[in-house]
């Protein structure tokens, strides 16, 4: 059959036919559309619904965005410009307000000639975080520090910092970069010094006050080392704490004054009430979360402790703080704290708010860290016991490093939540970016009646910061997960 066929047929194809392109419904954009948008009746309905939502959003908001005004003196002028450009009934955004008042949203009333200070402190925050996040990883450290360097060059130039400041800041970061190449572990010292440095940068005043305050810790450590051979570890630690508290209460101030008169060096002091906008939000958020970390760790350990009284006190504190809204705690800071402190004690509202926010965050962090502790396999605890480590050594060397590492993503989430919640300080009269500064801007007769623009501006910045952090925490989560497989 095949032979005859071969002879009778004059032409035989030797090569394969080139494959036909898939039918038009099975390729390119149409295939993609069919698969991803119109695969089933339900999907078609959903897609149409989605398109309708997008259309409605665009239809209502797009003209407003397109008619934006960037240059105007006041809201009424904005309205005139919009009316002139797009007809009397058109609406348009008035970004001119942001152009005139952006600095209040970022810095509050911080004096413009000192803006370099918060800007520098913000940059160094990342330099201080780097050794914690990437302990010992030279490459990541170098990349992050280079980023900080680039940020500082740009922002310090924009903020008009003086040449000396510029040089010192760059030297500092370059020095850290160098150290990262040789001994990355030593960078942790900068992290430890960073709070004092930032306190001095932001609030200003004599350089000696943060130095002498830090010296309190040296006193603590010195007393502890001297006394521990004599009276044992625990009493020595107690003695160290007492000595440090005495130092801060009685010796601190005279020593600062003495040093300042002998070697005067200070930058202009900025009072707390000048802080506002995102500067305030970040200061409250970052100090809240970093001070609350040690308290949170202690509370978490206390909650897991075998000692009943310690356990119940920890549980009581955690559940109380987590059971009431933050806003009542803020009102406590503003209305009640004076009742609880000795008569006549009075310190400024920002510090009071920070204390309450710290306690608030500590309760949440305690739960986060408890989760981390619970996630550790019990073999780790048993191994530590088997090695004969006592409680604190076991915690310090074995348990906490692992538990904290597991908890980092959750700590970041807590921080995001706390950062968003800093907007609530507006209700006790502080100038948060969302409500406080907006209210001040609206009290100006030029901008009275402006609603959407400040909210959108502030919301966008919050979104950028929080979204960035949440992405970072997801990345960390993925990274840490593979480590533990």
């Amino acid at each position: 059959m095949s032979e005859t066929h071969a002879q009778t047929v004059g032409f035989t194809r030797n090569d394969m036919l080139p494959p036909l392109p898939p039918p038009v419904t099975e390729r390119g954009a149409i295939k993609w559309l069919r698969e991803n948008l119109f695969s089933t009746p339900l999907n078609i309905a959903l897609t149409l619904f989605g398109i309708a939502v997008i259309y409605l959003l665009l239809q209502s908001a797009l003209p407003w965005w397109l008619n934006s005004v960037w240059n105007a003196e006041s809201l009424s002028q904005c309205r005139e410009i919009v009316a002139a450009n797009a007809g009397p009934d058109a609406s348009g955004a008035c970004w001119a307000m942001i152009r005139e008042r952006w600095h209040q949203f970022l810095f509050g009333f911080y004096p413009p000639e000192e803006w370099w200070r918060p800007v520098l402190a913000f940059g160094l925050l990342f330099a201080a975080l780097a050794p914690v996040l990437y302990s010992g990883q030279k490459r990541s450290l170098t990349i992050l520090l280079c980023g900080v360097l680039a940020y500082l060059v740009l922002t310090l130039y924009l903020a008009g910092a003086s040449g000396v400041v510029f040089a010192l800041a760059l030297l500092l970061v370059l020095g850290m970069l160098g150290l990262a190449q040789v001994q990355p572990g030593k960078l942790l010292w900068f992290t430890l010094l960073y709070p004092a440095l930032t306190f001095w940068l932001l609030w200003g005043g004599s350089i000696w006050s943060p130095i002498v305050a830090m010296a309190g810790f040296a006193v603590l450590y010195g007393v502890f080392r001297l006394a521990s051979p004599l009276i044992g570890l625990a009493p020595a630690a107690g003695a160290g704490v007492v000595a440090a508290v005495l130092w801060w209460l009685y010796i601190d101030v005279p020593v600062v004054e003495m040093l300042q008169s002998a070697l005067p060096f200070s930058i202009p002091a900025i009072a707390s009430d000048q802080f506002g906008g995102f500067l305030l939000a970040i200061v409250i958020g970052v100090t809240g979360i970093s001070f609350s970390l040690p308290i949170g760790i202690l509370l978490a350990l206390g909650r897991q402790s075998d000692m009943l009284i310690v356990k119940w006190l920890s549980v009581g504190f955690i559940e109380f703080i987590r059971g009431v809204p933050l806003i009542t705690l803020l009102f406590t800071a503003s209305l009640l704290l004076q009742y609880f402190l000795p008569p006549g004690t009075n310190f400024d509202i920002i510090l009071r708010v920070i204390i309450l926010v710290t306690l608030f965050a500590a309760a949440y962090l305690a739960e986060v860290i408890r989760g981390g502790l619970a996630a550790l396999p019990s073999g780790q605890y048993e191994a530590a016991d088997a090695l004969g480590l006592d409680y604190w050594r076991a915690q310090r060397l074995i348990i906490l490093p692992q538990a904290l590492k597991i908890s980092i993503p959750a700590i970041v989430s807590t921080f995001i939540g706390l950062f968003k919640d800093t907007t609530l300080v507006a209700f006790v009269g502080l100038m948060d970016p969302l409500k406080g500064v907006t209210q001040i801007v609206r009290a100006d007769i030029d901008w009275k009646g402006i609603y959407w623009e400040p909210y959108i501006f502030v919301g966008a910045i919050f979104f950028l910061i929080c979204f960035g952090m949440s992405r970072y925490s997801m990345y960390l989560e993925r990274k840490l997960k593979t480590d533990h497989r």
Partner: protein
């Protein structure tokens, strides 16, 4: 380690210990700064501008007191307070003086242990409605929706007024003045009620001011004035007489511009005493003799403060009305300075 800054801050910089209430004047002098409780932002009465300088009718009184006590009208720290936090801030010593359009009432004097030392603005609660609503009296507002700010005396007055006239209303509570204005303009309420000065200020900034009217009924007395803590009478006297000095200055035609001139040329004994040229009037308060002169030089007399911040010619455009001097048919009357 991070705790160090915390304790350092507590111990070194911000912890200001000292019995509040005993001798406010000494505290202020030691501090070199007057702590003045202000509004978080109310157009014309007290709000910071783009560069953070506070300005306004209430703010100027704080500046006058600072000029009298410390010799410098800029040595004031303005502490923004909300309706809820203002009196606590004063009681706890967080501020030395509260000038935040607060109404003088009996229970605030007695129960809250505060002293209202003077009335720097006589106000009253009124209603604003849109012209095309066709309402000419507040008594026609039966069934209306009324926008009202919370945390003030206005909500009590409103409840009383509608009850007395046996008519009903639906309250829409709003958080602050600008929010109230937005709601009102959007038509979310038929009437907006607050102090008449606030209504006038709101109306002045509306795009279509001519379409809104303020109804004739003033349903309450709202004497707004500076407040101090109960128990430190000398400090209360200082604030009271600084304020009266500004009134007397207006009465006698002394302004910030001509104060030196008047001092050199005047033959009026009261003016001489006021400006510290004769007698020891200032010293009796524990101040310098020219303390009140400094206050007048710094912020001007009452009339100047009024016309600069809220008077006719400004955007807010309030008439003097009840706040004219007694010689011109108003209520502002200072006791003799002797």
């Amino acid at each position: 380690m991070k705790k160090s800054v915390f304790f350092g801050a507590l111990a070194a910089t911000t912890l200001v210990a000292g019995l509040a209430g005993a001798a406010t004047l000494d505290d202020i002098k030691a501090r070199g700064e007057l702590l003045c409780g202000s509004n978080t932002g109310l157009t014309g009465f007290g709000a910071p501008d783009a560069s953070g300088n506070w300005a306004g009718f209430d703010v100027d009184l704080c500046r006058a007191v600072a000029a009298a006590v410390l010799g410098d009208a800029n040595k004031v720290k303005f502490v923004p307070t909300t309706g809820e936090t203002r009196f606590t801030a004063l009681q706890s010593g967080e501020v030395d003086l509260l000038v935040r359009n607060s109404t003088w009432t009996s229970s605030r004097d007695s129960e809250l242990a505060l002293d209202f030392v003077a009335v720097n603005y006589y106000d009253g609660q009124g209603f604003m409605v849109k012209k095309d609503l066709g309402v000419s009296s507040a008594k026609e507002l039966d069934g209306a929706t009324v926008c009202i700010q919370t945390g003030t005396t206005t909500e009590l007055n409103l409840a009383d007024f509608f009850k007395q006239n046996n008519i009903s209303y639906q309250p829409v509570t709003v958080a602050d003045d600008s929010e109230a204005q937005r709601q009102y303009l959007a038509g979310a309420c038929d009437a907006y009620t607050t102090d008449a000065s606030g209504l006038a200020a709101s109306r002045a900034t509306m795009p279509d001011a001519e379409n809104h009217i303020i109804l004739p009924e003033i349903i309450s007395k709202e004497p707004l004035g500076p407040v101090v803590r109960h128990g430190d009478n000398n400090w209360g006297d200082i604030v009271r007489w600084t304020y009266y000095a500004l009134l007397i200055a207006e009465e006698k035609g002394v302004t910030s511009a001509n104060v030196e001139e008047v001092l050199a040329s005047t033959t009026d004994e009261e003016v001489k005493r006021l400006l510290g040229a004769s007698g020891e009037m200032g010293a009796k308060f524990g101040l310098d003799n020219d303390a009140f002169k400094r206050a007048i030089a710094a912020v001007g007399n009452y009339g100047e403060i009024f016309s600069r911040n809220i008077g006719e010619g400004t955007t807010i455009n309030l008439a003097r009305g009840l706040n004219a001097l007694w010689t011109q048919g108003g209520l502002q009357y200072a006791p003799p300075f002797r």
